[in-house]
């Protein structure tokens, strides 16, 4: 008996033989945005889709702002990714805050009030955060809690989506097994097209753009 694979490919091979084959459009050099415009554009676009963006001087200042944001949200537990930069940020957090590392029990992570991660890239044109699993175990901390705080170095801001696609491909392969793009808090308009912010993912998204790192 022919396998499904052989049969499907066989049908296609036979049926497509001799068909006109329009050429694949050549790769384009990616559009870009001037570096000087990126931070402002990123903040403007992300704010429009209900994200919060602030600029801070360094990682230490990012830690102080994170502490304030967590306090304002009454968060008592924080899920963290394993990004090394976060150690400096976490140092500024109050001692009574329960910090959950990336490998904490799943039940604890599901119940965490807030999550803290880095982002490896930002895309100015679309207000997008790009998180790569090979660089940082981000999947749970950036998704499960209702509040997500993200640290993004200004130096990692790209202009466009096309530029990001170039950076995310190393020697032909994607940079990570999981690449997550985040542009704003979780949302839905499934009930009478009325916008609700915060369904399954975070309801609040705070991005701290760090100048000096």
């Amino acid at each position: 008996m022919t396998s499904a694979r052989d049969q499907i490919l066989g049908t296609l091979r036979k049926g497509l033989r001799g068909t006109t084959q329009p050429p694949l459009p050549a790769a384009q050099s990616p559009r870009t945005l001037p570096v000087a415009e990126r931070a402002e554009r990123f903040a403007a676009v992300l704010t429009k889709v209900f994200g919060h963006v602030e600029r801070v001087a360094d990682l230490r200042a990012a830690g102080e702002r994170t502490a304030a944001i967590l306090a304002a949200a009454n968060a008592s537990s924080l899920a963290l990714s394993d990004a090394p930069e976060l150690r400096e940020v976490a140092a500024a957090l109050p001692s009574d805050l329960r910090q959950l590392p990336h490998d904490a029990p799943r039940q604890d992570l599901l119940a965490a009030d807030a999550g803290l991660t880095m982002a490896q890239w930002g895309i100015a044109e679309t207000g997008t955060l790009v998180l790569e699993s090979a660089r940082e175990q981000h999947r749970l901390a950036s998704l499960l809690p209702a509040l997500h705080v993200v640290i993004l170095p200004c130096s990692r801001l790209l202009g466009t989506l096309a530029e990001a696609m170039v950076r995310l491909q190393l020697d032909g392969a994607p940079s990570s097994r999981t690449i997550t793009f985040i542009s704003g808090p979780s949302r839905t308009a499934d009930i009478e097209l009325e916008l609700v912010v915060g369904v399954h993912g975070p309801k609040l998204l705070h991005v701290l753009l760090v100048d000096g790192c």
């Binding site: 499904a4 699993s133 175990q137 994607p174 499934d190 009930i191």
Partner: protein, 469 residues
Amino acid sequence: MSHPGPETFAQNARDALRDPILTGALRRATDTFAQRRTGAIAAVPDWQDLRERARAIKAHTLARLDHYLEQFTTNAEAAGTTIHWARDAAEACAIVQQLAEQSGARRLVKSKSMATEEIHLNAALARSDREPIETDLGEWIIQLAGETPSHIIVPAIHKTKEAIGQLFVDKLGIPESSDPQVLAAHARQRLRAHFAEADLGISGVNFGVAETGTILILENEGNARMTTTLPKVHVAVMGIEKVIPRFADLDVFLRLLPRSGTGQHLTTYQSLLTGPDAKGQGPQQLHIVLLDNGRSRIACDEVMRETLACIRCGACLNACPVYQSIGGHAYGSVYPGPIGAILTPQLSGMHSAAALPFASSLCGACKDVCPVKIDIPSLLLELRKRAVEGTASEPAARGGIGERLLWRAFAWWMGGPRRYRIAMLLARLGERVPFAKRFAGPLRAWQSSRELPKLAKRSFRSTWQGERS
């Protein structure tokens, strides 16, 4: 609960038109989406170039689909993904069923996917007591109500918030509310419990990259991320037409799809998954089920092939005057609207869906908004032709002798200037006879919603001749 099929399209449409809640909701929704789309694409100066590029990429890929599927498979397998091939719906359902059994999965969650709707996966899995919980808010509402989606992007577009509030009272035992914020909060809480204990997650695929074996999933709610992250096994069902050649091509489609669908510049989340990612907090196994179910046949049909270029944005639904009036259920198929009218007869056979290609005024709005420039009106005409003429595998499904005689007579009357003049003369005389403006017999149906145009007092021809003499 039984659902009407495409065979009874005319009756379904009449029923839909008699439902004021449905028609009101549809009008609001389709207008809103059309406006948002217009706003979103106005901000993209190279929109037309982008459409052209996407169309060219799809045309190229579909003409070499065998090659790109093999490349996709090789690269996905190299990354640790297990690829399965399914000739039809039954085979695809059986594969998912087996995967659930092999991994000992009892609790399944699912994110929104048209391909799984197409193969009726939930019903198949329910037979072994493994029906997945739908986790997209709209799909979950539909599942609780025992209904089917009425729009590709907004499945519960036909339901009011009051009806959803009542549904939640009945099914979840929560206090009555018609506030979407409150209802969504309940959904979050309930579905959290399902996510926490799920051992297998099912998703669709928006794009599969041949060059890398990557799949891309777009969404706004975060339920697809949950579904593809928390359970230890992830099964993605992917139509074979979803493959694109290069990683960089994602840029083109990501700029087109959300703007065309919801008018967003980008949906909130994109997940790019290449192989299982247990080390990165993801599932231990990633399975991709490549679904044919009639697609290879469409790909081999040079005229109809471009049907497969569809990226399921829903723009043609929102733009279509027929869809705007009757909604998705009347089509009686998983894919409604203009794209459904060309896709359904090809996937499920002309016999059951012959009425659908005729459910269009051929106004061309669908073609104008299509991000990949599918010439839907031409394909509708081609399918009408095939329905009337029949094909080798499917004899004529429509067109009685009366209709054919009528058209032949019409062609004869219009076939020469003399005959045409006589016809017009008779028509002018006929207009003066009371009641003559009402057709009798089969033409009555045509007139039930149309006024016969009034002829000018004087024809252009006689005016022209009068001027010259």
